[in-house]
């Protein structure tokens, strides 16, 4: 598009006019004093001013024409790419699901198993997560890092309901009123609050000051009220609190026996009685309960994983793409048998390179022939290049799938002419050979077309001149013709290489397990393993490689010069 730049436009534009107005003014100033002063337009405004206005209007009009498409592309295409880039580092799920635990773990030294407060916070977080059914999602997320975490979370989520039951029973034995939802509302809710009669109950309002004297209870009861209202769409006035709320109340009262003074009337009396009874309660420790649910909770590795992935953004996916992993002890290499991405990237690059080289080897002679034949013949032969170019990718892939099969046409012919034995047919498909053959065929036109357009511009007289000066055919070609065709090779190579490293369909269909590319792995992570973060990280790396290559391509040929047949 460089040739539509401002100075390439034929005829006058406001630009030229402004320049002329400038010159005219200077001339006027340097000449007759009577004529000094700005040149005026027909309506009396200075000419420069009115030309500037015209220029501005023209720019706005151009932008107004471009704007709809720009917005469209930004929303339908650029935003998705940005979303993918964001997902490759995003890791909010841990902090969102286990906020209390993460806070406690901030002070953990990473040695052994964290103390009781961490288990307690975990119980609170897990209770809420299990009610919201978020714990399985978190489990699968952390399972990408440490196997076994997924089942650990699922198991714990099922049993978290029972945590605190022992306290609930003792409170109710002390005073059956503790079982009544009304008792809890009287204690915790702001005076005068009621759930209302609507479809969805009113939002819960906490009584002032409760959070100071009974922090855990206020926290858990508030969470309970929210979950009941938003998830179950029921009124907190009809529901007995979770067992864990009793546990929270027990902890608060044993820490602060004076809590009752913040209340009055019946609440104060009931709370005081409870506070008095609490030291005699049968107790349990959270760490024991959790380790009883699953012994993995007593392992440093589980807690280390939670801590290592507690930040909102993680480099974990990128490390995984490079066969490293983030462990509690820092960045480590993946175990030998799980190092697949390095191999996959290498294979993608190696196979793209092979395809690129075969395209040059096959494309160069054809492009040379096409550019040296008379126009009529070359146009006719060009159809043989353009027809595959225009044919659906799936048609060409299915053709190769049919041809390369063990019972397919190529093997049949080879057996018929006796090159291979009938019981020893070649394996041409579902391996690297299949991918390389099919993709060379599919990408060959992308090599021939740029080569042809460069070779067309090489004057035949150069080679003739070289020969007349005594060069042999080979020297004339190698020293004179070939160097001039190098830009075409460069353009074709980069184009073929870029297209092939991002290929998905053909490797998927003819590549089997050994002939697949990194893109197949990305697709696998999106649709089968559901590890979207890793898919996004792999995609980001691939995108970066492609963009760098395009930048080089742009420097060599210019993206605008892409020819379309």
């Amino acid at each position: 598009m460089s040739n539509t730049g401002p100075d390439a436009i034929t005829g006058p534009t406001p630009d030229n006019a402004i320049r002329q107005a400038d010159i005219a003014e200077k001339e006027a100033a340097g000449g007759d004093a009577a004529h000094a002063g700005p040149v005026l337009a027909a309506d009396g405004t200075p000419l420069k001013q009115s030309l500037n206005r015209a220029l501005r209007r023209q720019k706005l009009r151009a932008l107004a024409l471009i704007a709809p498409l720009l917005v469209f592309i930004l929303v339908t295409f650029i935003a998705p790419i940005a979303d993918m880039l964001f997902r490759s580092v995003e890791n909010e799920i841990v902090e969102e699901t286990l906020p209390r635990t993460i806070k406690v773990l901030e002070d953990w030294d990473g040695q052994g198993v964290p103390g009781e407060p961490a288990f307690e916070a975990l119980a609170y977080d897990l209770m809420i997560a299990a009610e919201l059914k978020n714990h399985t999602r978190l489990g699968s997320r952390l399972n990408y890092e440490t196997t076994g975490v997924s089942s650990l979370f699922r198991k714990s989520g099922r049993r978290v309901d029972d945590i605190g039951e022992v306290y609930a029973d003792q409170f109710i034995a002390l005073d059956p009123a503790w079982e009544e939802p009304a008792t809890w509302i009287a204690l915790m809710a702001a005076p005068g609050w009621s759930a209302g009669e609507g479809e969805i109950p009113a939002a819960f309002e906490m009584r002032d000051g409760v959070a100071e004297v009974l922090p855990r209870t206020a926290d858990m009861y508030g969470a309970f009220a929210d979950v009941i209202r938003t998830e179950d769409e029921e009124s907190v006035a009809d529901e007995e609190p979770w067992n864990i709320v009793y546990e929270a109340l027990y902890r608060d009262l044993s820490e602060n026996p004076e809590a009752a003074i913040a209340f009055d009337g019946e609440n104060a009396a009931r709370l005081a009685a409870a506070a008095e009874a609490v030291p005699g309660f049968e107790t349990t420790t959270m760490s024991e309960i959790f380790i009883d649910i699953d012994k993995d909770w007593g392992s440093n590795n589980t807690w280390g994983t939670i801590e290592a992935f507690s930040s909102r953004y993680t480099s974990g996916y990128f490390l995984a793409s490079a066969d490293y992993q983030l462990t509690p002890d820092g960045i480590e290499r993946q175990p030998e048998d799980q190092q697949i991405y390095g191999l996959l990237f290498q294979r993608t690059l190696f196979m793209s390179m092979t395809i690129m080289i075969s395209c040059v080897l096959l494309g160069y002679p054809v492009a040379f022939l096409l550019s040296n034949l008379p126009m009529r013949t070359s146009n006719l032969l060009m159809i043989l290049v353009l027809l595959p170019f225009w044919t659906s990718l799936l048609v060409r892939t299915s053709a190769w799938k049919v041809l390369l099969q063990q019972q397919g046409v190529i093997n049949d012919i080879l057996v018929w002419i006796g090159l291979v034995a009938d019981d020893n047919r070649l394996e041409l498909i579902n391996n690297q050979t299949g991918t390389i053959i099919a993709m060379t065929h599919i990408l060959l036109p992308f090599m021939i077309l740029p080569l042809y357009s460069v070779m067309k511009t090489i004057p035949p007289s150069y080679v003739r001149a070289a020969k007349s000066l005594g060069a042999t055919d080979w020297t004339a070609f190698w020293r004179v013709y070939f160097p001039q065709s190098v830009p075409g090779i460069g353009a074709g190579c980069i184009l073929v290489f870029i297209l092939s490293i991002g290929y998905y369909i053909t490797p998927e269909l003819v590549g089997g397990t050994t002939g697949t590319f990194i893109s197949n792995r990305i697709a696998y992570h999106i649709s089968s393993s559901l590890n979207w973060g890793l898919a996004a990280a792999l995609g980001t790396i691939l995108l970066a490689v492609v963009l760098v290559l395009y930048w080089i391509y742009d420097r060599i040929v210019g993206i605008d010069n892409v020819s379309l047949g």
């Binding site: 151009a62 096959l362 995609g539 379309l564």
Partner: protein, 283 residues
């Protein structure tokens, strides 16, 4: 390329073997596509030539795979979906793309390079990455698995082709024509539709054809952005090739080759016409 009469034997041998090599490469290019055409008329459910076919026995040929394509509800649904998606996506990309190309060809466009880069980007980014991004983003905003989502995604993929072909046509557009039109009192809208549009029409149509074929052939993005309800023809072929490979695919492939030949001819005719209008000889 002819050999001079004084060519030595070595030169002759080299020349003819070169021609043979080129012939083989052309054969490599075209043979796979040509092979599937006779195979699609196979009376058996095989993917290779039966002895009957090789001896041109009429009984070895049949139209049963074509019949299957036109009666099987799976294939018909897929065809119908493709026909519903591609034209709408094409229309969207042609309308927006032409407008923007006209805007970009004005003499003063700020950030022209950046805007151009953004608009061409759907062609540059590998399809699997576009598909992944769109899948993530469209599921966030509820477009994943909807007809609208697939149309928008395909329109985005087709836009670079429209931009490239239309701007290429506009390069040869004589600006004094619009000035003349303005001089005679036509407004910008009238000038566009009566003067500019008819002249850049070949570029617009071939851009549209590219956008159409992009959408019609596209499978990666629709695999991710679409759901079973948007199963297009390429998608159905993809499933067929991956799971239960049936010779009906060859019948479909043959039909698609015929369509490609038609499109190729149209684009070529348009290109020649546009070059003739610009006063160049058809190349």
């Amino acid at each position: 390329m002819g050999l001079p009469p004084y060519a030595t034997t070595g030169q002759k041998i080299w020349h003819y073997s070169y021609l043979v090599i080129c012939g083989l490469i052309f054969f490599f290019l075209i043979a796979p596509i040509l092979t599937i055409i006779p195979l699609s008329f196979n009376a058996e459910n095989f993917f290779t030539f039966t002895p009957g076919m090789l001896s041109f026995d009429p009984d070895a040929y049949s139209l049963k795979h074509y019949e299957d394509f036109f009666t099987n509800p799976n294939w018909q649904q897929a065809l119908w979906n493709s026909v519903k998606i591609a034209p709408v996506a094409t229309l969207l990309s042609v309308a927006l793309g032409t407008l923007a190309a006209v805007g970009l060809s004005q003499s003063h466009v700020p950030f022209r390079r950046a805007i151009m880069a953004i608009m061409i980007s759907p062609m540059i980014v590998p399809l699997i990455i576009s598909a992944a991004g769109m899948y993530f983003f469209y599921s966030r905003i509820g477009l994943q698995g909807t007809y609208l989502g697939v149309v928008l995604a395909h329109a985005a993929l087709g836009i670079p082709f429209v931009i490239i072909t239309v701007t290429a046509t506009l390069v040869g557009f004589d600006r004094s024509l619009t000035r003349a039109s303005a001089n005679m009192g036509a407004g910008p809208v009238r000038t566009f539709f009566r003067i500019q549009m008819p002249l850049i029409m070949p570029g617009v149509i071939s851009g549209g054809l590219f956008a159409f074929i992009t959408s019609f052939d596209e499978v990666v993005v629709v695999l991710f952005v679409g759901s079973a309800g948007q199963k297009t023809l390429p998608w159905q072929m993809f499933i067929g090739l991956r799971e239960q490979i049936s010779p009906t695919i060859l019948a479909v492939a043959t039909l698609l080759v015929v369509i490609s030949i038609g499109l190729l001819t149209t684009v070529e005719i348009l290109r020649r016409r546009s070059e003739r209008l610009r006063g160049m000889s058809p190349g």
